[in-house]
Symmetry: C2
Subunit: 208 residues, 2 copies
Amino acid sequence: MLKASPRQRRDPRAPDLVHFRKSATIYSEGEPAPTWFVVEQGVVRTCRFYANGHRQLTGFRYAGDVFGYEDSIHVDCAEAVTDLVVRRYRKQPEGLEKQPETSAAASGALRNLLDNAYGAIALFGRRTAPERLAAFMLMTLDRLGKSHDVELPMCRTDIADYLGLTIHTVSRTLTQMSRERLIAIEGAHRCRIVDMPGLRALAGMDDE
Amino acid sequence: MLKASPRQRRDPRAPDLVHFRKSATIYSEGEPAPTWFVVEQGVVRTCRFYANGHRQLTGFRYAGDVFGYEDSIHVDCAEAVTDLVVRRYRKQPEGLEKQPETSAAASGALRNLLDNAYGAIALFGRRTAPERLAAFMLMTLDRLGKSHDVELPMCRTDIADYLGLTIHTVSRTLTQMSRERLIAIEGAHRCRIVDMPGLRALAGMDDE
DNA sequence: CGATTCGTTGACGAAGTTCAAGCTGCGTGG
DNA sequence: CCACGCAGCTTGAACTTCGTCAACGAATCG
């Protein structure tokens, strides 16, 4: 797992560029967390597995996002949604932990985690499947969209496990939304927003 | 957690003991957060309100728990579930913000917030109403229970808004669970766990 | 002792899951 | 270059669960 730097070894904090194949595991829940990551290229999902076999996604990370900066062990596991390039940073040795810049990075990363978690909770707050999907599309547009075109790099199962639905309901609801001219589905991993006000209203982000 | 002396007021960081009536608002979402709190006696709920009018509880805080230590403004609002006594601490002025003990308190509080959020997400992971309620009972037993007796200080509406259900479903499911000899309901705010293995299995905390 | 708030219960319908089948796109091997 | 197989996506039908509407019971407080 932990792989030392290929070439120079001067500064222990210099990041490595690390590649992962689609579906690869970057780290697992409960593992020690000596390093942390920034997405360079591609998409990461963080998730948890429950005793009943159910999988719950807790968030997606896109280019520029920090992930994996937990206290000492990872609170969830991280997997590559697409082929992936990340920068891997090593944490300070214990004695130097409290340097301002480090603790700033730490609390920033914690806030990022928290924002992700609250985002997920907010999604469950929007209760029906169309509401959740509308909110999800707008969230994803923010991160991966261009004007009205949304890229959906994750598979339907990921979306379902993020929103707490089944892939069937996700699929059905998407086609329903396209029938209602809210969106237009352009292949499984791309869609266009046709009626932005309608979608925002459905997501509960407008007056009501 | 971090505990300063109760009486004298030399040190601006000495905490006040503050009382709140049941249902009182301690702070609201979006307010500046110059102070933070530790529950002395009673129960606090933190929640968010969405544009569609829906309320989502993000956690309960019991005696000893920290809450309200957000970056600069509160990410959710805090209300008294019961009559309440809290210790109120003032944050450091900006210049002194980075003292080790303070930043330890801050990241501890963030972690607490994060744990609460992940707890909420985990509850949504358990999908059916009986599963959520079983998990909720066990969580609450951990904090407020004695052996097999669980205290439920919050009202049904709070439970419903925490679990993403309606009060009707909460009520129906509880009586259902008592019919099945998993629990015994002893008034609206107290219940006894009759079949612990069964309850744990239902919550998905056992083999299956 | 009403009035109000909170909790329970029943009937019903809408929404989502399950089960089952079929479709599409893509990579592999003949 | 096409046939085949596989994985991911869609769709239909039956069924289950939960939310809604409505009414009633219980506790609390003036």
